[in-house]
């Protein structure tokens, strides 16, 4: 039984546990709230707030998710009280002398972090904004100032935007939760970069992925579980095509949820995993559902919920639900709603999910044969402005205008308009990377264009200063130099040109890929709300496949290719 109370204006959820006492302070703020130019600020706040605790002798941690940030610990009632109050105090008196150190720690953390196949799905669905930014590195870290931190904390880390949960015999009496007032922050927007759904794109090697936006609720939970069960049965047990086949249910905001599915595959089986997945989804959509599967997943969920209730494990999700504005009904009502889900409900959900679906296919495969529309890989228009000829690729121009920039060539068209731009990354030697909200990237190395420095100067004076993030100087050896095509061969040797262009494109992409680590390719099924482990079958190939897969991904996707 969950008891609700309030301390210092903060709602408190209290429930029993069979294990040691735990507590968590959760705020309605996460990566999806961050502008790209301050990407990483929530994570930085989390680290700074915990840094005064140092090497405390109790278990504590913080986590920054897409929509929520949480500080949690296990310990005695006194320790719990000391921890949450300590976090509250630190949040509003951040140890700014640790700013540079914590920045470095975050960079180190990013370097060692494994990347999730959920990231490209988020990027292609949402673009470089709200729920899509989790796919990007913490590119804002260098630009974050103490004022930025104070603004962020004052807006999001307030008593009106927090919920405390406590699992244990009682709420520790000493807790005060000294947080300033503010307002409850609405859930982040759910932008779409997809003109049409169901859509598809070519993702990294070794995995088939899919996501869909559905109405939140028990039917969607059961749908996700039934899909996982049928994927496991057909892709793994019957056909031996996949090792891991998982689905995930992830609430988004108040009324919707994201259902994702991932299945790993060997290089020579990728097409079959894709086909098998398409067929499993179709089976649920047309209503060929074994009622025994529905009953089995309901029973498993039922047992898991009861166990979680006893152990206090439902409290963190209930705290998030409360912050998102959702009801938290008593467990009896939730179990009854779960038990009432029928195969017809699952069919209806599958139809809804199919219509909003985004399919991530392995490189060199596509979902267009199965009725999925290829997501755009190029901009529809180019800006009208001054062209700067590429010194490497005849026919390719960087076009710079008052309202934006374009890269236009025979087989590419990438445009970022300043009023729809998420970030301009700027290096001292003149390189610029502009990313549009739709995820389109224009990457400019001034040395590779005739009068390229003029183009950069124009961009610097015309793009809004707030979008700019200055980067540290690059190793001079890493600054590209043009490899102009010998005039005599520029027309007579067309076979050579695409190959060289490909190498250049790949190397630029590899640079982005390695610097940013956007998709480092070690695809792990990792989600902020699930405990799924990495897909073991993929890890053996390690970084080699990762780099090849990643470069292929970026080569074929076009959004980053520019």
């Amino acid at each position: 039984m969950i008891a609700r109370s309030e301390i210092g204006g903060v709602p408190v959820l209290h429930g029993p546990t069979t294990g040691p006492a735990r507590a968590g302070l959760v705020f309605r703020v996460g990566m999806a709230d961050e502008p790209m130019t301050r990407r990483g600020i929530t994570h930085l706040v989390e680290h700074l707030a915990l840094s005064p605790l140092g090497l405390a002798d109790f278990h504590y941690n913080g986590s920054t998710g897409t929509q929520f940030t949480s500080f949690h610990m296990t310990g005695t009632p006194d320790e719990l009280a000391g921890f949450v109050d300590g976090v509250c105090a630190a949040l509003h008196d951040l140890p700014l002398h640790r700013l540079d150190t914590e920045r470095d720690i975050l960079r180190a953390e990013a370097h060692s972090r494994s990347h999730s196949a959920h990231e490209p799905l988020a990027l292609w669905r949402h673009g470089a904004r709200d729920h899509g930014v989790l796919a990007y590195p913490e590119w804002g870290l260098a630009a974050i100032t103490p004022d930025d931190l104070r603004y962020w904390v004052a807006r999001y880390f307030t008593r009106d935007n927090a919920v405390l949960w406590v699992a244990g015999d009682q709420v520790p009496v000493g807790i005060r939760l000294p947080l300033p007032g503010g307002t409850r922050q609405p859930s982040p927007a759910q932008s779409s970069a997809l003109p049409v759904t169901p859509a598809c794109f070519a993702g990294p090697d070794g995995v088939v992925g899919w996501s869909a936006v559905v109405g939140a609720g028990p039917a969607a939970v059961v749908f996700a579980d039934v899909l996982e069960r049928t994927m496991f049965r057909t892709l793994r047990q019957e056909a031996g095509l996949s090792y891991a086949a998982n689905t995930n249910y992830h609430p988004m905001g108040t009324g919707t949820a994201l259902v994702t599915a991932l299945a790993d595959c060997l290089p020579d089986k990728q097409g079959a995993v894709l086909g098998g997945f398409v067929d499993e989804l179709a089976a649920l959509r047309v209503g060929r559902i074994d009622p025994a599967d529905v009953q089995a997943v309901i029973r498993k969920r039922h047992e898991a919920m009861l166990l979680a209730e006893q152990q206090g494990d439902r409290l963190p999700e209930q705290a998030r639900a409360l912050l998102a504005g959702r009801d938290i009904p008593p467990i009896e009502a939730e179990l009854a709603a779960l038990a009432a889900v029928t195969p017809d409900d699952v069919t209806a959900l599958a139809q809804q999910a199919y219509a909003t679906g985004l399919l991530m296919t392995p490189p060199e495969t596509t979902g267009t044969w199965a009725g999925f529309t290829a997501a755009p890989t190029a901009s529809e228009t180019v800006v009208t402005g001054t062209p700067y000829a590429s010194l490497e690729e005849p026919g390719t121009h960087l076009i710079v205008a008052a309202d934006g920039v374009s890269l236009a060539g025979d087989d590419r068209r990438a445009t970022v308009r300043f009023d729809d731009c998420a970030i301009v990354r700027a290096w001292p030697h003149g390189a610029r990377m502009l990313i549009g909200h739709d995820g389109v990237v224009v990457n400019i190395e001034p040395t590779l264009y005739r009068d390229g420095h003029h183009a950069v100067a124009w961009i610097d004076t015309h793009c809004p200063p707030a979008l700019r993030v200055d980067e540290a100087a690059r190793d001079p050896r890493a600054i590209p130099r043009p490899e102009p095509e010998p005039v005599a061969h520029s027309r007579v040797a067309p076979a050579v040109e695409p190959e060289r262009r490909q190498i250049r494109a790949t190397s630029v992409l590899m640079t982005i890929f390695l610097i940013s680590g956007v998709i480092r390719g070690i695809i792990a099924v990792r989600d902020e709300f699930s405990e799924d482990g990495p897909i073991a079958g993929l890890l053996t190939a390690g970084v080699v496949i990762a780099v090849i897969g990643g470069s292929l991904l970026w080569r074929y996707r076009g959004r980053f290719l520019a």
Binding site: A239, L241, D268, K269, Q270, G271, A272, V273, L274, G275, G276, V278, D279, A282, A283, R285, V286, R288, T365, T368, W369, A370, G371
Partner: protein
């Protein structure tokens, strides 16, 4: 025996096709279903294949729209869309097919695939649907792994489904991304997996025809006279058309016709003459069409030569 004409119409050996054609002409779906539902799985797939090539207009579309849960209607519509698409593409090699032709071809195949995905989702054990999906797999270039998965689904529904095996055989050819080695080993394995006397020996003969044509030699007979090839063809013939258990079941004309061709082209009259005799004036267009466009004259010529040798046993 002195057979005169060459009859390519499959209805000559399969009178149920005439009944089906009549029902199609009347736009009588229940009449069609009566024929199709009464056929063996392999015969049903063959009948649906032929039906899709008839002048049926939008009958298949209308029947399917009336009841999208009717998997037989879905199979006919899928095959009809595939047939229409392939007519647009033509049988020419890819370099002679225009971009516009390819786009329209792919569009028809995607429409077929959409119908077939739903139908196989509803009725995964209907082999005719998987035969059609082996055709879309090839036309839409879904790759060897996915094509194999579809074949496995077909085999799960009907282990020795010759119409589907003939389609999968195409996908195993190098022209569709396969290899001769895999083609021949699969053909032989499939033959041995089927009961003695079954039609599956034809798969071995078809594989050798594909190989012969694929080599593009000036004298195709050279390939077929190779001792190993001939040995494999004899083994396959003994396992099927020459086996005591070989029956004149649906598909027998195609099997006998293919063996007659490989032996005739390989100048093995002693082997081909009895097959021509067994066929009488019956013949199947495929794979004779690989040799020349005028299939009838070609068959007549080879048949005359074989029978003139007086080798009928």
């Amino acid at each position: 025996m002195n057979p005169g004409d060459v009859v390519l119409d499959p209805a000559a050996a399969h009178p149920e096709l005439t009944t089906l054609r009549d029902a199609l002409a009347r736009r009588d779906w229940w009449g069609c279903r009566a024929v199709l539902d009464g056929a063996t799985p392999g015969a049903r797939s063959g009948l649906l294949h032929w039906a899709a090539e008839e002048e049926i207009g939008d009958f298949a579309q209308a029947v399917w729209e009336a009841d999208a849960r009717d998997n037989t209607a879905a199979a006919l519509l899928g095959l009809r869309l595939i047939h229409t698409g392939w007519e647009i593409r033509s049988a020419a090699r890819a370099q002679y097919v225009s971009r516009d032709q390819f786009e329209r071809f792919h569009d028809y195949l995607r429409r077929a695939e959409a119908v077939l995905i739903d139908a196989t989702a509803r009725q995964p054990r209907d082999p005719a649907l998987w035969v059609a999906r082996l055709l879309t797999a090839r036309g839409l270039s879904v790759g060897q792994a996915e094509t194999r998965r579809r074949y496995d689904r077909l085999a799960a529904a009907d282990p020795h489904h010759l119409p589907g095996q003939l389609q999968y055989l195409q996908s195993l050819c190098p022209k569709w991304g396969g290899s001769w080695e895999r083609l021949h080993s699969w053909a032989r394995e499939s033959m041995l997996a089927a009961p003695p006397g079954a039609l599956q020996g034809r798969l071995v003969a078809e594989a050798h025809v594909e190989h012969m044509i694929g080599l593009e030699q000036t004298d195709p007979a050279a390939y077929l006279t190779d001792a190993t090839v001939r040995e494999e063809l004899y083994e396959a013939a003994h396992r099927s058309v020459w086996h005591p258990d070989f029956r004149r079941e649906p598909g027998w004309v195609g099997a006998a016709s293919t063996f007659a061709m490989v032996f005739a082209v390989g100048r093995d009259h002693a082997a081909s003459a009895p097959l021509f005799a067994m066929l009488g004036d019956l013949a199947a267009e495929h794979p004779w069409r690989y040799l020349e466009d005028d299939v009838v004259s070609t068959i007549k010529r080879y048949r005359r030569a074989a029978l003139a040798s007086g080798a009928v046993r």
